[in-house]
Amino acid sequence: MDLELLIDALVAGLLLGGFYGALSLGLAIAFGLLDVPHIAHPAFALLGAYGAVLMQGWFGLDPVLSGLILALPFYALGVAVYSFYHTTFERRGTDAGLRGLAFFFGVAFVAEVILILLFGIDQRGVRAPYIGRALVLGEFRLPWRMLVASGVALAIAGAMALWLSRTYVGRAVQAVAQDATALSLLGADPVRVKRIGFGIATASVALSGALLVVVGPVEPGLARIYIGKVFAIVVLAGLGSVGGTVLAALLLGVIESVMLSSPVASWTPAVAFGLLLAVLGLRPQGLFGR
């Protein structure tokens, strides 16, 4: 591979990784910090994407703006889903993990069916000034849609890191999976803390979902291809680390992108799992976990 192609692939990979980061951050909270096996996370992102499609159809809104507006109802959705999960599964104890997995698998399935019923199986997209154009820097063409996705990803990461480290509830979200009983002895209600944490994670998914349809057209089955990637990123990162999640996402983006322009391109979809297995074997606390 010549150098120019390699640099091209690296840059494209960083942008792709930024987008992956946006998709993974909510899961870093829901799974990494709150221990909820939320495999419906990409499905929620897809709901956010279709939400942006609808908002554009109805009001002609920009998808990123729609994502911001949708964050509010998504917060409520997260609170409702967690409350249901808690009362029916988590509170019952021991096998909650496995049964919870089944629950969220069901939620993802229902979300997909609803999308098929409402929108059909055809691809849907949105229009925006930054879609379909590129920033040309000498030899390089950087698609604006990817630049926007990466920029928004960094904004989400920054906001999340601040929230986790500077607010009482954010700190409690970090603490609750480490020792919920100890947290209750400090005057916090662990269930309420998890509810808020899951709400925030889901709110962020509205925005990253909007990025999904900025990056490319969506169809109802799209969420499935992201499940493996986002879980790989969150585990690679070291559960619950915001900075680690961004770095792991960039790493995956770069590796996938470089592989795509290499002779072994057909192996690209296996990269996420390969990386995950390698890291779990060598460094179980994740690349950036403490």
Binding site: Y168, Q178, D179, T181, A182, L185, L186
Partner: protein
């Protein structure tokens, strides 16, 4: 009027009955030791007091009026009682400072968080040096200090401490007890401390209760306990 009074308390875990009618009281400003060897129900009583375990019978009253037997831990903290739990239970992957700040989670405690944090650094200078380290990396004695400091961040009137000496070298045990004595003198805290280490407990406690098989086998001033060889040999193994 006693600050904290427990009357005929019964508690256990499912079919396992552990406490069989325990009564005790801790008066304002007192330090009371809860003595007894392994498995006699000290921690079970502490859990009932902190709201972690629901008693099956009896009564827990704060200031003679507030019923605490059936409320969640958050409400116990709000009422002014904080527990330093058995095994310390820090958040191991959070920094020392983050652990302490979380101690001020209650909205009333947040207002005084910075002052309390400063007080904590003064009481535990070694923790100030390590405030950015994750709590899990500290030594046992330092972790115990974090646990005590974290509980104090809620500004409790009554501090419950469950076996602060467990797993610590003798010199560290003495250090932790010194700190409790200092806190008692400086802040007029009311303290109930579960402890197996009779000599160390005797250094700060005014009175003691000896728990045997979930019942109070003996209670009296620490002086009386020290004199009664029968009690010490039979129940405390010292």
């Amino acid at each position: 009027m006693p600050d904290l009074s427990v009357t005929d308390l019964h508690a256990g875990y499912g079919a396992v009955r552990v406490l069989h009618g325990v009564s005790l009281n801790v008066r304002h400003g007192e330090t009371v030791a809860l003595l007894g060897t392994n498995g006699n129900g000290k921690s079970t009583l502490m859990k009932c007091l902190a709201g972690l375990l629901r008693p099956s019978g009896g009564q827990i009253l704060l200031d003679g009026k507030l019923e605490l037997g059936d409320v969640p831990p958050q409400d116990v903290v709000a009422a002014g009682i904080s527990l330093v739990p058995e095994g310390r239970r820090l958040f191991p992957r959070l920094s020392v400072e983050e652990n302490l700040v979380l101690g001020a989670f209650r909205s009333e405690a947040r207002a005084t968080m910075y002052e309390e944090l400063e007080k904590a650094w003064e009481t535990f200078p070694v923790l100030r040096e390590k405030r950015r380290q994750v709590a899990g990396s500290l030594s046992g004695g330092q972790q115990q200090m974090v646990a005590i400091a974290r509980a104090l961040m809620a500004c409790p009137r009554v501090l419950l401490v469950d076996e602060p000496s467990v797993g610590l070298a003798p010199i560290l045990v003495a250090q932790v007890i010194d700190i409790l004595a200092q806190l008692k003198a400086e802040r007029g805290l009311t303290v109930l401390m579960a402890e197996q280490n009779f000599q160390q407990a005797a250094r700060i406690a005014d009175r003691g209760y000896v728990l045997v098989h979930g019942e109070v086998a003996f209670n009296g001033s620490m002086a009386e306990l020290t004199e009664s060889e029968a009690v010490r040999v039979l129940y405390l193994g010292v």
